[in-house]
């Protein structure tokens, strides 16, 4: 548990939509990563990539073990040839590491194993590492991540020192940082310290802002290994029965499309989708053998359509005037800061800069909303949400 509200969010990872991606649901809405020939899937088998300067060869589809409850799924993944497995000290309060360790104990030497610490101090981080090694039943981690760092200043000297000390002691082979957002801040900081850092674990998916793709490219060029998480953009899990696009998004292949989209980018060396059952595992394995196609694009476009009503793209084209004087586009922008970029403090600060009278407006007291968004954002609902979390 963290003692402050984190800046980073899954929403930032999965649901922030850049203007271009929000513009329509046509083919052009999907931000295309470069497709290098070298990463083309090999029919009928697994595909491997080299994890940057670590030199470790890993399957392009790995396994994020966070919500897996049955070790048989992890065991099967290893048997089928997946070589990268990720957990964290904080997952299920340590119970997840124990499960992963039990599942992989007979394969430890043939897989790449990573864990993470959310510690804030060197002492705590090193204590976490020792605990992780005990729970995982191994004498070393291949990669040890600083967990969920959303800004460059989170990469403190003492945490870096902890990783260096652990490496020197042979308890870890490589040092990494995981981030759910803040890529533009954290990745350049990692590149600046590339003599220390080896691997970037970053949220990356089809719905993210286009600036993330070149950031990953720059990290890869600097020799850092790139592991992508939140590759399914989360929205697939969030859709509920009764939602307009439920059937489309829940159908077989929807999550696979998202995974294949990520794998199109050769700068992504492996991915860690969460898997809770053997059927998901079997489906995800196809991402290594079946190329991204037009059908996948349609599914992802539908997903963008699903999340579109939630996010203002700041186009300034909303019509109507709020009779209570609310600065509608500003309010929606603040909400995007908070929910989209995880910048809750910044968002609330800006909200509190509004005149007191405006801060006291409650949209749910209005019978109807006079503001219309040409892009389908549910304005009244979103304004109420902003008032709920900022006021």
């Amino acid at each position: 548990m963290k003692n402050t509200s984190s800046r980073r969010s899954f929403l930032a990872a999965g649901l922030v939509l850049p203007a271009t991606a929000m513009a329509s649901t046509t083919r052009s809405t999907l931000i295309e990563p470069q497709v290098p020939k070298s990463s083309a899937p090999k029919a009928g088998g697994l595909s491997y990539r080299v994890l940057g300067k670590t030199g470790m060869k890993v399957t392009s589809v790995g396994f994020g073990c966070m919500i897996t409850s049955d070790q048989s799924v992890v065991e099967k993944a290893a048997d089928l040839g997946i070589t990268y497995f990720d957990t964290a000290r904080g997952y299920q309060q340590g119970n997840n590491e124990r499960m992963v360790g039990a599942a992989l104990k007979s394969k430890r030497n043939s897989i790449t194993l990573s864990s993470k610490t959310g510690a804030q101090t060197k002492q705590e981080a090193l204590a976490h590492l020792d605990k992780s090694l005990t729970e995982l039943g191994t004498d070393h981690l291949d990669i040890w991540y600083l967990h969920g760092k959303g800004k460059a200043s989170d990469l403190t000297d003492e945490l870096i020192d902890a990783q260096a000390q652990a490496r020197k002691a042979g308890k870890i082979r490589f040092a990494g940082v995981s981030m759910h957002g803040g890529h533009a801040d954290v990745i350049p900081a990692m590149i600046a310290k590339k003599d220390h850092f080896d691997v970037v674990l970053a949220s990356y998916n089809f719905s993210m802002e286009p600036s993330v793709t070149p950031l990953l490219e720059s990290a890869a060029k600097a020799g850092l290994g790139i592991v992508a998480m939140k590759v399914m953009a989360g929205g697939f899990r969030r859709t509920k029965a009764g939602d307009k696009l439920y059937e489309t998004l829940k159908r077989e292949g929807a999550m696979l499309a998202a995974l294949k989209w990520v794998l199109k980018n050769s700068n992504v060396h492996t991915t860690i989708p969460s898997m809770t059952d053997m059927e998901q595992l079997d489906e995800n394995l196809k991402a290594m053998t079946v190329p991204f196609g037009s059908g996948d694009e349609k599914v992802l476009a539908a997903q963008l359509e699903y999340i579109r009503p939630l996010y203002c793209r700041s186009c300034g084209q909303c019509t109507g005037v709020c009779p209570s004087g609310l600065p509608v586009s500003d309010m929606l922008r603040f909400l995007s800061y908070a929910e989209g970029y995880g910048e809750y403090s910044l968002a609330r600060e800006q909200f509190l800069d509004l005149p007191a009278k405006v801060q006291q407006v409650r949209c749910n007291l209005c019978p109807t909303c006079t503001i219309n968004c040409p892009n389908g954002v549910r304005v009244a609902e979103r304004l109420s949400r902003a008032q709920e979390i900022f006021a």
Binding site: M1, K2, N3, S5, S6, R7, R8, S9, F10, L11, A12, A13, M66, I67, T68, S69, D70, S72, V73, E75, K76, D79, A88, G90, Y91, Q92, Q93, G94, N95, N96, R98, K116, G118, E124, H147, G148, G150, S178, H180, R237, R238, S274, T276, D277, M278, E279, Q280, A338, E339, G342, Y344, I389
Partner: protein
């Protein structure tokens, strides 16, 4: 889902807590620092990067939390409201230290030097203390006052009591929110550990639905041998689940998996079936 609701039908009798907000007044000398934290399914990730999904799969509804200060000591108190008590208990089981016993706090709880967790009603409560020292006394003080405040079920879900105790690893039974045994057809249910294999129990919405799942299970296993337990049963083997003994009783599918060396668990499966109410 209708199944789990029926499974915990008694919960309704016990009453359901209204929305709860933590505060620091429960223990003398502690002061609230900052506003109440509030998160829903859409932004829980803001609060717990990389860990939120583990809460969401247990049907997380919302979280309200406060930071309490006393001198240099800090205790975070977070109330997680789940869809129903069964899932609150499920999240507690997932996050507890399985090597330590449960205490009789609500449906179950644990108080450690820097951490306390328990479930009561539809709430899963977490307290975390810093700096690094023994905060047990303060944590117990807060836990006691919080437990009194929260209404709702204060005993584990009935199904927990159905598993025969003999050779059951203590505190091993927990709710799996999706894909029991790593199989999608077993949507949600309980799993526990015996010293000879894994036990599971999956509620379906009706006997008919359970029969359909049973047929799919058989099909998945391939070669199976009929067994005489409850309404329907079979034994078989699977590469990852090892030896299996599976039965259906009314709308429940249960049995044992990961049986090694041809271990026959028919007697234990029959005992489990007979205890299902």
């Amino acid at each position: 889902m209708k199944g789990p609701l029926i499974l915990i039908a008694l919960i309704a009798v016990n009453g359901v807590a209204g929305a709860q907000t933590p505060d620091c007044s429960g223990v003398a000398g502690w002061q609230q620092q900052g506003p109440v934290r509030e998160y829903g399914p859409d932004n829980l990730f803001d609060y717990m990067d990389g860990n939120a999904e583990g809460y969401l799969i247990y049907r997380f509804v919302n979280m309200k939390g406060v930071t309490c200060k006393k001198g240099d000591d800090t205790i975070l108190i977070d109330f997680h409201e789940m869809a129903d008590p069964e899932y609150a208990y499920g999240l507690f089981c997932t996050n507890r230290d399985v090597r330590l016993p449960n205490e009789a706090i609500g449906m179950g709880g644990q108080v450690l030097p820097r951490r306390a967790v328990f479930a009561k009603g539809k709430y899963y409560i977490e307290l975390a203390a810093s700096p690094d020292k023994d905060h047990t006394a303060a944590l117990r003080g807060f836990v006691a006052t919080i437990e009194k405040r929260i209404e709702g079920r204060a005993t584990p879900p009935d199904a927990i009591g159905w598993f025969p105790k003999d050779r059951l690893v203590p505190n091993s039974v927990r709710l799996i929110p999706e894909s029991v045994l790593g199989l999608r057809i077993l949507k949600h249910g309980y799993v526990g550990q015996y010293d000879f294999g894994k036990v599971f129990l999956v509620p379906e919405e009706s006997a008919e639905a359970a029969a359909q799942v049973m047929a799919k299970f058989r099909e998945r296993i391939g070669q199976s041998v009929p067994a005489k337990i409850a309404d329907d049963a079979f034994t078989g083997t699977d590469k990852y689940l090892d030896g299996l003994c599976v039965f259906r009783k009314d709308r429940y599918i249960g049995g044992f998996a990961n049986l090694k060396g041809g271990r026959d668990a028919s007697a234990e499966a029959a005992a489990l079936a007979s205890s299902i109410k």
